[in-house]
C-alpha cells in the first residue's frame, strides 16, 4: 500500500474510529479532499475473519486483548494512579477503532448534563446546551442505525422516532419489570446501535451473543461503515500510520502538518488546511503533549495547561445472583431494558448520575463453562446444568466527576515502539463517587430482593472498575484559560485544529458516550466545512 502523503488535502483526520469515520464521510460528501491517518491496521472485513475473532473471544486460550490485536510495544502504557486502569482492554487501534469491540449502547445525554454546575454546583457546564446538539443527535441515530423506542419517560425531548424499531424485551426483563413496578421504578427500552432490520447491505442482528467484543454479522454498528463509505466517495485511508507529532506555523496559530510513521520505518508529513484529532480520550491528549515545540513547550493547544487533565470514565456498579426459576440468559449479548429514573441528579449535588441496566447475559454461558472446567462428559454437563439458567443481574453506569488530578500524562521513562513516551493513566475515585456507587448498589439490592433473588455478588466502591469511556482530557469551554477546545470543538490556540472525541466532554453523565461523540463529530464537520 502507498503510505506516502497526499499532495493536496483539505482535511487530515487522525484516527479512523466513529468520530474520524463520520467526519471523513461528511466532509468528503461535501467535496473536500480528506486523508485519514490510522495508527492501527485495517482488519480483514470479511465474515469468516469476524467469526474467527469471535471464536478467539469465546475460547479461554486467548486473552481479551488479542481479539483485536491490542498489546505489545505499540500499545505500551503505565497506570500510576491510586487505582489501576487496564487501558488496552479499553480500546482498539485499527480502522473502526473501539467500536469494533464496543457494546453498542447509544443514549443521549440529558439536558441537565449540559448545565450540571449551574444546577447542582458540581462538575462543569458545557458551552453548548442540549438544544444545540438535538438535531445532531437525530442525525447520529440515523447514521448509526439505532434501534429504539420512545417509551422512556426520563429521556430528553426528541423530534422523531428512532430509525429502527427497538429490540423486544427479554424474558428476564419481564421478571424485572414486575419487581420494579412494585417498587415504583420505571423501566423502558434500550437504544441499541445494532440493526433490528437489515439496512444498506448490513444484516439485522442474528443473535451470535458475542456483541462485545465482536459481532460477526455486522448488525452491530462499527465505524468501518463510515470509513468505507468515505473511502468509496474519495477519501484516502492510510492504516498503520501512527501520527508522531503535529507541526505548526511560525506564528503558532495553525497546524501545518501531521508527521506520521509507516511500517517500513519511514516518516512522512501530511499537510492540510484543517486537522482533526479523532484518536480517543487517551491518544488525543498524548499527541498534543508529544507535539511540544519551542513556542509551546508544554504541548500543543495547551496554553490552559489542561491537556490530559480532568480524565474521567464511568464506573460500573452491579449486583447479581440466582432465582429458583429459569431466567433464560445468554441468548443474546445485548440488553433490552434499563431504568434512567435515577439519572438526573438532586439539586444539592449529593450524588452523581446513575443508569441502571438489566442484563440479558447474567452468569456464565454453557459454552464458557464447558471450555473452562476441569471435568468432562456427564460430570461436566451436570455442572453446566447446575450453574446455567437461573442467574439475574442488574448493572449500572455511575458518573465520575471530572477532577484535575485524574489525568493522562506522558510517562517519564517508558517509551513505545517509536521511542515516544507512553501514556500514563492517573486515575482515582472520590468519596462522592463511592457514595453514588453505594446508592446504585442499594437500588440494585432492593430490586433483587423484590425479585426474590439470592444475591451472590456485588460490585461496589471497593471493587468497581471503569466502563472504558475516556472523557475530559481536552475539555470544551468558552474560556481559553479553563478549557482546551471551544464550542465548535476547535482548539483555542490553533485555528485549524479540531478535536472530535469524548475527550472534549466537560462532564460525562452516566450515558455511554458514543452517540454524543457521533453528534459532536457531525457538528464539528459542519464547522470545518464552513471554514473550508
Amino acid at each position: 500500500m502507498n503510505r506516502t502523503p497526499s499532495e493536496r488535502a483539505d482535511v487530515c483526520i487522525v484516527g479512523a474510529g466513529p468520530a474520524g469515520g463520520l467526519m471523513a464521510d461528511r466532509l468528503v460528501s461535501r467535496g473536500h479532499d480528506v486523508v485519514v491517518l490510522e495508527a492501527g491496521p485495517r482488519f480483514d472485513a470479511d465474515y469468516d475473519d469476524r467469526v474467527q475473532r469471535m471464536e478467539r473471544s469465546i475460547r479461554p486460550a486467548h486473552g481479551p486483548d488479542s481479539v483485536w490485536e491490542m498489546g505489545g510495544e505499540r500499545d505500551a502504557y503505565e497506570s500510576t494512579g491510586e487505582k489501576y486502569y487496564p487501558l488496552n482492554a479499553a480500546r482498539v487501534k485499527g480502522v473502526g477503532g473501539s467500536t469494533l469491540h464496543w457494546q453498542g449502547m447509544v443514549m443521549r445525554l440529558h439536558e441537565q448534563d449540559f448545565r450540571l454546575e449551574s444546577e447542582t454546583g458540581v462538575g462543569a457546564d458545557w458551552p453548548i446546551a442540549y438544544d444545540d446538539l438535538q438535531s445532531y443527535y437525530a442525525e447520529a441515530e440515523d447514521e448509526l442505525g439505532v434501534a429504539g423506542a420512545s417509551d422512556n419517560p426520563f429521556a430528553p425531548p426528541r423530534e422523531q422516532p428512532h430509525p429502527q424499531p427497538a429490540f423486544e424485551p427479554s424474558y428476564s426483563d419481564s421478571l424485572f419489570a414486575e419487581a420494579c413496578e412494585d417498587l415504583e421504578i420505571g423501566t423502558h427500552s434500550v437504544p441499541n446501535a445494532r440493526l433490528s432490520e437489515g439496512r444498506e447491505g448490513r444484516s439485522a442482528c442474528v443473535g451470535y451473543g458475542t456483541c462485545q467484543p465482536v459481532c460477526p454479522s455486522g448488525a452491530k454498528y462499527d465505524a468501518t461503515v463510515h470509513v468505507e463509505r468515505a473511502e468509496e466517495s474519495g477519501a484516502r485511508i492510510v492504516d498503520r500510520a501512527p501520527v508522531q507529532r503535529l507541526e505548526h506555523d511560525d506564528a503558532g496559530e495553525r497546524v501545518t502538518a501531521a508527521v506520521y510513521a509507516t511500517p517500513n520505518g519511514e516518516e512522512h508529513r501530511q499537510e492540510a488546511r484543517e486537522f482533526v484529532l479523532a484518536a480517543g480520550g487517551v491518544e488525543n491528549p498524548r499527541l498534543l503533549l508529544l507535539s511540544e515545540s519551542e513556542q509551546y513547550p508544554d504541548g500543543l493547544a495547551n496554553s490552559s495547561g489542561l491537556v490530559g487533565k480532568f480524565f474521567h470514565d464511568h464506573l460500573f456498579a452491579g449486583a447479581g445472583g440466582t432465582l429458583d426459576e429459569p431466567t433464560r440468559q445468554n441468548h443474546v449479548g445485548f440488553n433490552t431494558t434499563e431504568s434512567h429514573q435515577f439519572y438526573d441528579q438532586p439539586a444539592d449535588g449529593s450524588r452523581g448520575a446513575i443508569k441502571l441496566e438489566f442484563l440479558n447475559y447474567a452468569g456464565p454461558s454453557p459454552v464458557e463453562m464447558a471450555l473452562g472446567g476441569d471435568d468432562w462428559g456427564d460430570a461436566m454437563l451436570d455442572r453446566i446444568k447446575e450453574n446455567y439458567g437461573t442467574h439475574v443481574a442488574v448493572g449500572a453506569l455511575v458518573e465520575q466527576e471530572p477532577r484535575e488530578e485524574n489525568r493522562i500524562r506522558l510517562h517519564t521513562e517508558r517509551t513505545d515502539d517509536h521511542g515516544n513516551p507512553v501514556p500514563d493513566v492517573v486515575w482515582s475515585l472520590s468519596n462522592h463517587e463511592r457514595r453514588t456507587i453505594e446508592r446504585a448498589n442499594e437500588i440494585q439490592h432492593r430490586i433483587l430482593d423484590e425479585l426474590g433473588a439470592d444475591v451472590e455478588w456485588t460490585v461496589g466502591p471497593e471493587n468497581t472498575g471503569p466502563a472504558f469511556h475516556h472523557m475530559g482530557t481536552t475539555r470544551m469551554g468558552e474560556d481559553p484559560e479553563s478549557s482546551v477546545v471551544d464550542a465548535q470543538l476547535r482548539t483555542h490556540d490553533l485555528g485549524n485544529l479540531t478535536v472530535a472525541s469524548s475527550s472534549v466532554f466537560p462532564t460525562g453523565g452516566a450515558m455511554n458516550p458514543t452517540l454524543t461523540i457521533a453528534a459532536l463529530a457531525l457538528k464539528a464537520a459542519d464547522h470545518v466545512d464552513e471554514r473550508l
Binding site: 469465546i58 475460547r59 443473535g207 433464560r328 454453557p366 459454552v367 471450555l371 446455567y388
Partner: protein
C-alpha cells in the same frame, strides 16, 4: 440427543470455516496433516468428553473435523501434533495409541495426562496443546451448536446465530 448435519454446519459456521447450506460434507479426510488416524483420535476423545446423552458423535466429529481444517494447514498441524503427543503418552502408559483404547482406559489416560486441569494453550506444554486442539476444540464445536446448546438448556448458544426470538421466550 442426536447430532445432525445441521449441527455440523452450525459448528463449522462458529469456527469461521467457509460453509454454505448446500455444501457436501465428506467423511474422507484426504491428504493433509489431519488424516484417518487423527480423525479417529478426535472421535475417541469426543466419546469421552461429550455427555453420554449425545448421539451421532462419530459422524459429527468426523465431518466437522475434516471440514474445519480444510484450508487451515497451520491449525491442522496443531491438531496433528496434539494427537502425536497424546499417542506418545498413551503408548507409554497404556501400550496403545489413544484411539485404540477402550473408554475406561482412555479416561484414565487423558486424566492421567492431567488434560482435565490443563489450561488450553495452542503454544503451551504438551498437555495444554492437547487440551486446546483436541478437548476444547471438540467442546467448542458441540456447545456452539443448537443440539449442544439444548442439552445444556439454551437453544441459541453463544457462537450460534440462532436469531432474536429465543431470548424473549419464557421457559417451557
Amino acid at each position: 440427543m442426536e447430532l445432525t448435519r445441521r449441527d455440523v454446519l452450525a459448528a463449522l459456521a462458529a469456527s469461521g470455516a467457509a460453509v454454505g447450506a448446500g455444501i457436501s460434507l465428506t467423511s474422507d479426510p484426504g491428504e493433509g496433516s489431519v488424516g484417518e488416524h487423527e480423525v479417529a483420535t478426535l472421535v475417541a476423545v469426543a466419546h469421552l468428553v461429550y455427555p453420554s446423552e449425545v448421539e451421532g458423535v462419530e459422524s459429527f466429529v468426523r465431518r466437522y473435523s475434516i471440514e474445519r481444517v480444510r484450508d487451515r494447514p497451520e491449525y491442522a498441524q496443531g491438531v496433528a501434533d496434539a494427537v502425536a503427543v497424546l499417542d506418545e503418552y498413551s503408548r507409554t502408559w497404556a501400550d496403545a495409541d489413544f484411539a485404540d483404547l477402550d473408554t475406561e482406559r482412555a479416561d484414565r489416560t487423558l486424566s492421567g495426562f492431567e488434560v482435565d486441569t490443563a489450561d488450553p494453550d495452542p503454544e503451551g506444554s504438551d498437555r495444554e496443546r492437547v487440551r486446546y486442539y483436541l478437548v476444547n476444540e471438540l467442546l467448542y464445536a458441540l456447545f456452539s451448536t443448537p443440539t449442544g446448546g439444548e442439552i445444556a438448556g439454551i437453544e441459541n448458544p453463544q457462537g450460534h446465530p440462532g436469531g432474536t426470538t429465543s431470548y424473549q421466550r419464557g421457559p417451557e
